[in-house]
């Protein structure tokens, strides 16, 4: 399969690019909700528009009312989200959440998917425990109680945690914390008794929650897939989230880059456009090169994931690590080349830097994924 978009994908990209620039732009969404101190950190009206565009259910099966598309298509949407810094629950809901629900019972899919596809339901995903991503270890426990389970423990960095209608929780149902087996995924409804939130606004103005589960009673119908056998599904959800975040990062990186080269072509010093200075030209050209490489490896990993390749897991980590490093370079160069105005809140370039930082941490930073690349490569 060639490493560029098919005609259908190019058409999708064209419509999403226009939509996101018009409706999801920085002033209309990110700054608006931030300055309004919105408790969700995103607009429900826009989420509804996502649904009208057919984006919310793009990964869901056709039988469930979705479009049965893949990660290449989801990545097209995420790249535009990244370019416009559009706050939305798309990644946690339509990418990770829908991936988790793909192996859920008919009942559970029927309970959540229609609302997601309609742009009315939001999902959050609770995996991390602690400040760094380490899903190999899961201590949050769900013990059998009657016909169901009792969930106890804490999760961190739960994006959209307080806005979500349900939280997909990875919990331990048997074994010890670092066992591969004994993990189960649950779809925990927001109104379940015993859920406590400590919601915090992050550097990029998104909302995350430290969630506490204090003996939350869950009936058996909330289990996704098999009890104790959730590790494979969790890995699918992780891959979906990682490649999605990588795609969003390429959008953030190229958005910052476009803004920066635009500035190089308008800002004058010493009687010259600063873009005439070779010191800046070479840095811009190097950055362009890195962004091209990051975009290529992201689409490569998306295709492998969609094709069910055995190399997908490795390449997803390669893509997440590369996209993180390159996007980080793009925002650092962006602020530096903007000079003093790059430090002001009025200019948007700093917003890119903030978003990059949050996306890098989401589902494992570059070092985490470098470690995984070494392990998956056999060293």
């Amino acid at each position: 399969m060639p490493l560029y978009h098919t005609e259908d994908q190019a058409m999708l990209a064209e419509s999403v690019t226009g939509f996101m620039a018009d409706e999801g732009g920085i002033k209309k969404q990110l700054r608006h909700w931030r300055d309004f101190n919105c408790k969700d950190g995103f607009g429900h009206g826009l989420w509804k528009q996502f649904a009208e565009m057919g984006l919310t259910g793009m990964l869901a099966a056709e039988a469930d009312g979705g479009l049965a598309m893949g990660h290449v298509e989801a990545g097209i949407v995420l790249a535009e989200i990244g370019r416009n810094l559009t706050p939305s629950p798309f990644l946690t809901t339509s990418v990770m959440g829908v991936t988790a629900l793909s192996e859920a019972s008919d009942d559970l899919r029927g309970r959540w998917l229609p609302g997601i596809i309609a742009g009315e339901t939001v999902l959050a995903v609770a995996i991390d425990e602690g400040a760094k991503h380490k899903p190999e270890k899961i201590a949050c426990r769900a013990e059998r109680a009657g016909n169901g389970f009792r969930l106890t423990g804490a999760k961190d960095f739960v994006i959209h945690g307080t806005s979500a209608d349900a939280i997909i929780v990875a919990a331990r149902t048997s074994g010890s914390d670092s066992d591969a087996d004994g993990v189960t995924l649950f779809a925990v409804p927001k109104d379940a008794a015993g859920i406590g939130h400590n919601a915090v606004r992050l550097v990029d103005s998104s909302m995350a929650s430290h969630v506490r589960f204090d003996g939350v009673e869950l009936d058996g119908s909330t289990v996704i897939g098999e009890v104790d056998g959730g590790r494979a599904l969790l890995n699918k959800v992780l891959s979906a989230g990682r490649i999605g975040a990588a795609a969003e990062q390429t959008g953030v990186g190229s958005g910052a880059f476009a803004m920066t080269t635009g500035y190089l072509k308008t800002r004058k010093q010493f009687g010259k456009l600063i873009g005439e200075f070779q010191a800046l030209q070479h840095r811009a050209a190097h950055l362009y090169s890195e962004l091209e490489i990051a975009e290529a490896v992201v689409i490569k990993a998306q295709q492998l994931l969609d094709g069910g390749s055995e190399r997908a897991e490795l390449m997803v980590s390669v893509a997440k690590a590369k996209a993180a490093r390159v996007c980080n370079l793009a925002v650092r160069e962006g602020v530096q080349m903007h000079g003093g105005v790059g430090m002001t809140d009025e200019f948007d370039i700093g917003l890119y830097m903030k978003r990059e930082r949050a996306l890098t941490e989401f589902m494992g930073d570059a070092n985490y994924h470098a470690e995984r690349v070494a392990q998956l490569s056999g060293y």
Binding site: K265, E276, A285, H286, A296, A370, V373, Y379
Partner: protein, 386 residues
């Protein structure tokens, strides 16, 4: 799709039936490469056989048209051929500047007679070409070149000197940039082809820091070149040269899967890695190598359908060569004091150190990294005054 899969099965079976076992071992060094040419000495019967069976089918240049010695494969089919070669671990049957550089330029700018004659010779490995571009005073500033061809009616008389001519001492013919109008810089250069045995042509190998001599100084003393041996129009050789440079940069970048795209962590860790810092660096390198490989694949896919920016080879050349230099720095670091050995049997005559030193030329030859960045800034990013 099924047609392509049938083609794949056919290619796979053909390679299985025709590629000698010996040609499925990885290339160990320069002298394992089959370059072809009048004076080429095959390293083994298997190497000769593999080149010949491939040439007979047009597989040495699979995507060239059949009348010119190719197999007339479509872009998708040529990709299948490359993938199946890689899958079988089969070596390229023939490597040459004729295939990588002159061929594409002739396909675009050559006359029908030139294409039939020269392309078939290249495809069959009969003639080995070298490239006469750089001069002592014209490196990065190539357009300032001074080698002059004086018009003598039905021929030119060429005088001057080239430098860094790769394998000039082993090549049969040269494609050469010659000034044919001293009044114009860009539009005063012609692209000439001539036999290296023409009276007045001499070569002198240059010994490099690696100890080997892949490059030569090449001298022209009243060399007679018939007029029909020009490619493209008189004084418009710079167009041909630039087009060809794109292919040269693509080649040096390793976009087609050169050594810089292969990972090194697993190989180096075979004996156990007790240095966590080195392990981390290897992982970082492997990430960059795998990502660059994807970029090379994407680039080639896009070229075939005209989606690639015409200046993209410059970016690929920059990224690929910088990566390859880093690769060899890491190989040296992992090798420790063993890798320093210059002549030992264990290092096959100092191969690690010599290769490491050789890679330093990667970001100089065919346009320096700095020139590549200039071109990207100007032609792709369209920065002012670049």
């Amino acid at each position: 799709m099924s047609e392509l899969e049938a083609f794949r099965a056919e290619i796979r079976a053909w390679i299985e039936a025709n590629c000698p076992e010996e040609m499925r071992k990885p290339v160990q060094g320069e002298d394992d490469i089959c370059w072809g040419g009048r004076n080429f000495v095959f390293k083994s019967a298997a190497q000769k056989q593999w080149m010949e069976v491939c040439a007979a089918k047009g597989f040495t240049v699979p995507d060239w048209p059949k009348p010119y010695g190719g197999a007339g494969m479509s872009p998708a089919e040529a990709k299948v051929w490359r993938e199946e070669l890689a899958r079988a671990g089969a070596r390229p049957p023939l490597s040459s500047f004729g295939i990588w550089m002159l061929g594409p330029a002739l396909l675009k700018f050559g006359t029908e007679e030139q294409k039939v004659l020269y392309l078939n010779q290249i495809a069959r490995g009969e003639i080995r070409w070298c490239q006469g571009y750089s001069e002592p005073g014209s490196g990065s500033d190539l357009v300032s070149l001074q080698t002059f061809g004086e018009d003598k009616g039905d021929h030119w008389v060429v005088n001057g000197q080239k430098i860094w001519t790769s394998y000039a001492d082993k090549a049969d013919w040269i494609f050469c940039l010659v000034r044919t109008d001293k009044a114009n810089t860009y539009q005063g250069i012609s692209f000439l082809l001539f036999d290296m045995t023409t009276p007045g042509v001499t070569t002198k190998p240059i010994k490099l820091i690696s100890g080997s001599s892949p490059f030569c100084e090449t001298f022209f003393d009243n060399v007679v070149v018939p007029k029909h041996q020009i490619v493209g129009q008189l004084n418009r050789g710079w167009d041909v040269a630039k087009y060809l440079l794109g292919h040269e940069r693509e080649m040096i970048s390793g976009a087609g899967g050169g050594e810089q795209t292969s990972t090194i962590g697993k190989v180096l860790a075979r004996g156990g890695l007790d240095d966590p810092m080195l392990r981390a660096e290897l992982a970082q390198f492997d990430i960059d190598a795998l990502a660059f490989a994807a970029c090379g694949e994407k680039f080639l896919d896009e070229i075939k359908v005209g989606k690639a920016h015409p200046a993209k080879p410059n970016m690929m050349k920059y990224a690929g060569t910088e990566l390859n230099k880093r690769r060899h720095e890491l190989l040296m670091a992992a090798g420790g004091s063993t890798a320093l050995e210059w002549e030992s049997e264990e290092t096959r005559g100092g191969a690690p150190a010599r290769s490491w030193l050789r890679t330093k030329a990667n970001s100089i030859e065919g346009g320096t990294s700095e020139v590549m960045l200039n071109v990207v800034a100007k032609r792709i990013l369209e920065l002012p005054g670049a």
